[in-house]
Symmetry: C2
Subunit: 134 residues, 2 copies
């Protein structure tokens, strides 16, 4: 079912510092910051040859990463995103197997304008998993 | 400097359960468990089209992931590994920029029989970064 690793998302408390670390220290190819107010984050993409890293910084009230950054003041890896061909088929298979889909269980339009859903970390090795219909 | 994302490593408290989650629930292509006593872990590889996930379980005394699992009982994303062409050049650039290389600062032979080093999480957005000479 799962295909490519679409991205690894890292929540960062200081976006300028994170850009400096990835661009200047690690020599990564980083994008300009992109505000995504509908998703409560500002994102910087680090383009790697085979996938990408997303540096996420809270934007506005009720950012979905605010609580994570309260618990992890230095930042940290927030989630990993796998691509699937059919998000509804994936959802049905996972629910039938007992996995918990976060929220109301329905796919939403994610930050890349594609349908996504998130799975409960406790069902997947303590790591938050996003599935995105590629 | 950084090239491909070589792998994402997830520390897991129960390897059989992790395999079931990734193979049976997510439909991933998982390897047989591979004991790596020199590195204090048993590893299951989840092969994705563009990279891999490594499910790490402690092996023996003094496993490098034991303390992490004490803090994260359900498991969690332990580190991300980027490939570099020249590990010594990478080390020198990072040290010159003020980044902390863990241990004695010298590359070691990693689990893939290639030279690796680890960077201090506080210098890289709270996430443990491994560099591997590809």
């Amino acid at each position: 079912m799962i295909g490519r690793l679409n991205h690894v998302a890292i929540a960062v408390p200081d976006l300028d510092a994170a850009v400096a670390q990835y661009r200047d220290m690690l020599g990564g190819k980083v994008s300009e910051p992109q505000a995504q107010p509908d998703h409560g984050v500002t994102v910087v993409f680090v383009e790697l040859p085979n996938t990408k890293i997303e540096l996420l910084h809270p934007l506005g009230e009720n950012s979905p990463i605010a609580a994570f950054l309260e618990r992890n003041a230095s930042g940290g890896i927030h989630h990993i995103c796998y691509e699937v061909d059919d998000i509804y088929a994936a959802r049905d298979k996972l629910k039938a197997g007992g996995a918990r889909v976060l929220g109301d269980g329905e796919p939403k339009i994610g930050a890349h304008d594609k349908p996504v859903l998130f799975l409960h970390p406790k069902d997947f090795c303590g790591s938050l998993v996003e599935l995105e219909q590629a």
